[in-house]
Symmetry: C5
Subunit: 250 residues, 5 copies
């Protein structure tokens, strides 16, 4: 049985994503949020259900992470934004290593539609298997990318992404929301017993964000894995608390 | 000796295919059949000889599958429909994992004629070997695909697919039927001691389907592995029973 | 020491090849010879020194093969004729598996001149090593193929193929004969202590075939590995006996 | 905990780089500095905190290196300057081998932006893991290279390189300095708990070099990994001592 | 410590190369020298310090080689001359196998400048490591080849080749001599503690050859690895003795 309660409380979750340093570079950061300790503090005070790091940060800031008691999710693959063409993101950390670092879950990104799709699907297979053998949750970022998906319906791609997550054995599927609640509901249905969380994406107006959070929860999602909208905010805890209220309907 | 009786009764079989979620996306589904539990119910009540799932569904719905007592076939490879060009479908589940999930057979797709053909042939080799060592049946989807086969005779390709299945060690070969009973008979002959089952394909008029089922059985096939024609039907059990009567000539 | 006597009698051999089902498809077959049992019967009654099968047939018809007492040669790689461009033929059966199936020798094809040449050469290395460790003979089909060899001298390519076989450790080298006895003699010399057998190729007039068999033996070859000229013949045993007389000069 | 004191004294370091023989060829050398013994002498007398060699030199000159007591850093990958196109530098020595040779740290180059980036990132993962398991420091040369990065901001690339080092688990990140102290400071911040050292690069005027050393230290870097500016100098120890004074502010 | 005395006498060596059968085909041979036994006889009577064979010949003629007492060098990679484009030569024999065959040294070719350079460099790494662990000498053929090196200075490439050999851990580096003694001297210096031997190349006038042998020795090389100039000669032992006198200055 999948132990969702490692990351979900009452079926809902709010995860803090901080893998942007590898994916986008420090261009996303300022003097405060460039520091992983600042992020760990937000995660702790904001009572996040999990925090996402690459191996390097999970290792060098391990004592701070452990002290915070925020559940650790180690992102197992990644790539820079520099290389052009269809993306491929390869494994940069093992499941065993993630366990040693204290992770309760591992993350992996699959760019569906990329001509390298099958490489990531296959690499994911081993990770999923080893993670489940060791009782870890598996979160899969599934994003349509590459020449093949240009111009295709975002609604269909979102539902397809959700379904792929279920078929290949993800426990939690992280999707990019197309903004249409009905489409998201269909994606959640397509994911079956797997849970759906939505990616926060670029920083947006607070009101718009909270409207979206509501839509996300109402569509049946488990919650969000959010980064820039929180740690680029002037008051990360304020926005966190507002989201928590929407998610857990307190 | 190949234990065909794990999936065949009196030399015949009717298998329920449900790997379309990965191969085509939820576009094939509606609110009912998007749910694997609905499918498992059909398989159980329709007395299917086997049901085909990807690892993710076989894992998350394992208790429902086991309760149904329908023999489980785990599909070991797959791909999305998004990537253009010659197809490659790589292994997404191990034989060991399939055994743990309770499978009596494993499935694997080979796209012959694809420039990636040799990758799939070689991956299949290991699967076939490990499956036979553990007493599992091996079902091979063999579909001609890619630039190299365009315009080639469908009859010859169908027979070639059947023969390849025999040569590389498949127990059951799943083919796409070209609609000519004589050609199918030759394909069955070419498959030697390996059994041939025909893929259901897109949903068709019920009468036409039943005519084809009769042709398939008369050509010497073991039966069908069918999905959309059943679970997209308004009355899946009715069509199932009609097919059963044709197959087992009751 | 290489145990040539597993396949050679008095230094000569006549091998029955039946790997065409994978390489060319059932287009080479009729209602009789499509059936491996028909072939096994020919091999037995014709007293062939060995019979060549892919894993699938060696496995499914294993009891018939064992009963026939014809020495089994398992072909370890193969490909379809569908894919265009420079050919690559990858391993589809292990040496261990061949041993389990009762093989006394293994076969492997290398397409020299193909841009994938090095893949096959390297795959062959492991097979050769493991086969010799286990006392099996190694037969190497060495055929020039691909863009790079177009227009090159067939005589030189034939001798080169023979020499490559010796250099990489083949025991028996299967060549395509260019029709010139002097060139074949030089190829045999180039093969050193490795034995040369000639491929039968497409079906030919019986007289022409027997003239060629004589040339082949006189050039110092160990014999032939022949298929279509035998099992496509109306009287396979008659042509077999005629060839045997030429080869063993009875 | 990372044992930086294996290479840093009071948080600062001066490393002697000598992997140019593989990367550029002997064109960088003269009759003196072509000889590794000459370099080892400089490292010893100049009290360098570490010396960088490829496996071949670390092995053939091992007794000289050990006698010198200069900490050994084995560079684990490398390539020639001959091949055109996006660079890839593959592993040419294992961590185990480096340990046997007496290394306290291993080095690895990643060319970010190269279309082969993911190959190096993935190879690095295993090295990082094994090195840390064995208590070795990991130094990562991270240089933007290839078509994708042409024309991009050097400041942003430098900070991105630093951040990537942190994210993937480097202990010490070797960067190419763009000449702007403010940008370098931001790169150091982006590297978090990982240390930054600057590559010496081509030989420059002594005064300019010392100005840069000051900037480097003031920006928060741990120091330099320098080669040609030292061993191409007429007085390697003089320039070394001048740099040491700037770095340790004596 | 490298045990050079396995192949060098008083610091000098004369090796007999016979890997041309794979690299060029039997076009290099006549009725005499096509036979490995003829070559072994030359090696024995000419008191060669080593003889170079591919696995196939080392295996099939092993008793003759052992009887001759000429030290055996097994060439571990190779390729045909048929494939166009940048060359890649892959491993065709393991170090373990070479040891079993009685080798005191192993050989490996790296085509620097080829776009496949990194494949050979990486394959070499494992061979070098395993050979040294087992006390075998490692000889590296390093030849600039491919589009990238066209038009480049032969002198610089020769020195670069020598240096690469040292950096990656070769004990003996086999180079193609550009004909300029000064350049060769610089290459020898660049090789440091690794020894340099020169490839014989195509057959030349005897006088010119002996002049070159003198230049080679005077430049500090350990000697030659020579084939065609010896076994294509009408009197292989005469030319051998003349070379020996120049090399050992008797």
């Amino acid at each position: 049985m999948v132990k969702f309660n490692k990351l979900l409380k009452k079926g809902k979750t709010l995860l803090l994503a901080y893998d942007q340093g590898l994916e986008h570079g420090p261009i996303d950061f300022n003097d405060l949020n460039v520091d992983p300790i600042y992020i760990i503090e937000i995660a702790k005070k904001g009572k996040y259900n999990g925090i996402v790091f690459q191996k390097g940060i999970a290792e060098k800031y391990n004592s701070e992470i452990k002290k915070s008691k925020v559940p650790l999710i180690v992102k197992l693959n990644g790539k820079t934004s520099l290389v052009k063409g269809d993306p491929v993101s390869r494994q940069l950390c093992t499941v065993k290593e993630a366990i040693k670092l204290g992770a309760v879950a591992v993350g992996y990104t699959i760019y569906i539609g990329s001509c390298h799709e099958s490489i990531m699907m296959q690499e994911f297979e081993q990770i999923q298997r080893e993670a489940h053998k060791n009782g870890l949750l598996v979160i899969t970022w599934i994003y349509p990318k590459g020449k093949s998906v240009r111009g295709k319906s975002k609604a269909k791609l979102m539902a397809y992404a959700a379904r792929i997550g279920l078929e290949i054995g993800a426990d939690i599927i992280k999707l990019q929301y197309n903004g249409n609640p009905k489409d998201l509901k269909w994606a959640v249905e397509s994911a079956g017993k797997a849970k759906v969380v939505v990616a926060g994406g670029v920083k947006r107006d607070e009101k718009k964000l909270l409207v979206q959070v509501k839509e996300i929860v109402n569509a049946g999602c488990a919650g969000l894995a959010i980064g820039r909208n929180v740690w680029q905010s002037k008051d990360p805890l304020a926005i966190t608390n507002k989201m928590r209220k929407v998610i857990w309907k307190k």
